[in-house]
Symmetry: C2
Subunit: 350 residues, 2 copies
């Protein structure tokens, strides 16, 4: 979105396209009128004089000669410039604006022919959790997937396998996916691109379970990931970020002697946090995380990367202890992922 005089990414893109296609930059009067109309509304909304917007409007309405205006998102246009056998589509950078204009781009004659050539190959996805990448790689090799169109990617304890229908065809890909899945049934958690937070929310919703979180080292990351999903409020009632010991004790009711005897980073504190969250937030399932994200905070016997997880549900508890190598961001991200998977198994398997 560019409303300014300074060069923005949009301006630079339009200039580059003009140069690359050998066109002059011209002022499109009809486009100007459209953008002006919207800018006047925005100016009113912001309580600013329209004159401040005028130079930005002129800039947005300056396009390579012969460009077709496909549509507007806010004040940013989507343009098409044809150049020999090529067709250049310029879109505003912000994902929301780009996505809003995409359907209009698809209406442009010939564009579908071009896009069809760039169609992504159909594929099967397998998502594993809690198994080393090397074991998944071994399963791929045993299934005859070596050298085939199979990619494997480790992401925060999850192993993502994508099997593409390459030269060998769809039947081979399906057979391969089946064989790999069969080899590691205990670790396979999805055959779609659903994230673990989506799966947790869906599993809880299907069972009428409400969920709460109690986070120390992850600092709100688990709650943030859950609430990023539209409709999370049907399942997730809230959480406590209990960073200081006083908050663990005061808000979650972790007994002072547990904190004193075992420390804030301990299996006992994780358990008390989860049970406290469950009782005080009035839910069926609660998950708690406490650990040392670093770089400071390590003590004798409690190194950076040590994380305790605890989940409690109507039919029992599950806990885990992690020893995560890496920096603060990695430790927090992996601890959050592990907590969500602990929740998932508690809800779906008990």
């Amino acid at each position: 979105m560019s409303g300014g005089l300074g060069p923005t990414h949009d301006d630079i893109t339009v200039e580059m396209v003009a140069r690359a296609t050998g066109r002059e930059l011209v002022h499109d009067v009809a486009l100007h009128r459209q953008i002006e109309q919207r800018s006047r509304v925005a100016a009113g909304r912001l309580g600013r004089p329209y004159s401040e917007f005028e130079p930005g409007v002129t800039k947005q309405a300056t396009v390579p000669e012969g460009a077709t205006v496909v549509g507007l998102s806010g004040t940013a246009p989507a343009l098409i410039v044809e150049c020999g056998a090529c067709m250049v589509v310029t879109l505003p950078g912000p994902p929301r604006e780009l996505q809003a204009l995409w359907p209009a781009v698809l209406e442009v004659p010939d564009i579908r022919v071009i896009l069809d050539r760039a169609h992504p190959a159909p594929r099967h996805v397998l998502r594993f959790y809690g198994v080393p990448e090397s074991s998944v790689a071994a399963a791929i090799a045993a299934a005859g997937g070596e050298g085939a169109d199979v990619t494997i990617c480790a992401r925060d304890f999850e192993i993502h396998v994508d099997i593409f229908e390459g030269d060998a065809g769809p039947r081979h890909a399906a057979r391969l996916a089946h064989a790999i899945a069969q080899a590691l049934p205990d670790y396979l958690y999805a055959t779609t691109e659903s994230t673990v937070e989506e799966l947790v929310l869906a599993s809880c919703a299907a069972r009428g379970i409400r969920l709460a979180t109690a986070e120390s080292c992850t600092g709100g990351l688990i709650a943030e990931r859950l609430t990023a999903i539209p409709g999370a409020s049907e399942v997730f009632v809230g959480g406590v970020v209990a960073y200081a010991d006083d908050v663990k004790a005061g808000i979650l009711g972790v007994p002072a002697d547990v904190l004193r005897t075992h420390g804030a980073v301990s299996a006992e504190t994780a358990l008390a946090m989860a049970h406290g969250a469950r009782a005080r937030l009035g839910v069926e399932v609660a998950v708690a995380v406490t650990g040392i994200a670093g770089p400071g905070g390590a003590t004798d016997g409690k190194p950076v990367g040590l994380v305790f997880l605890h989940a409690v549900g109507p039919r029992g508890d599950r806990s885990a202890v992690l020893d995560v190598p890496g920096d603060r961001e990695t430790i927090r991200r992996r601890a959050a992922t592990a907590a969500l998977h602990l929740c998932r198994t508690l809800v779906t398997e008990s």
Copy 2:
């Protein structure tokens, strides 16, 4: 990090470099021994047989002929392949592994000469908040910055301006930065790349203030951003993600009649959440957010994007109401940024 048989990004990169530089792929026995040693430790830690790791080790030790091994991060090597006047450096993709190996790369003879040629231009940064992009663009133009090496980028209500020392030289850039800053003194919040969460934590720390959050629609995002900063625990004691009304009432003490009369998304609820968090978490400053992130949840007079913010400190309160266009992710991100800026001004200006 590749420990597998399936093709990973590392494998693909190494293969591509071999092909591009016209080298054969060869098995490096010395490298194999190094990686094997580390993999045996990892296997022990994971309680898996080393044999599962062996094929991965062989793969990691397979490199373009004549490649120099610069170092290892985990089991992933950094390699240098020379090709005529070019020098190709391959590094593992995960940022942590890449960063760990970078110092070793800098020790390679001639590499500094190559990097010096790619040195980024020195620049001044100006960070504004709470002013339209068009006003900042107008200030840039008035200062004579149009056409100069000035970029402007709007990011969640923040306007980031970078002034590069281009052809006009360092004195011109400094003069330009000064003039732009002078034009909008009330909106300038940083002349460094510090994020607002870093500034909030530093301002609180300097004043001996402790901080808490109370979040509804942002779902933990503010707490997450604060706790992503190492040392946050010196200032931030914790927060409550109060998604359901029961949690707003039970944990934060929002009066039932406030929720009933004004609704969960209201200035009154935001105020009660902030005051509740301040009292119950025992801090000097608390900030609260409640709003409608969408896509559902809109009611008559309360559209998606309506967000109420409230911050309370020892010397008074500040509040704001936002009307954020955009999708769920944008609304949450902008609401969190606005809440952090509200906190910043409360702490630094009162």
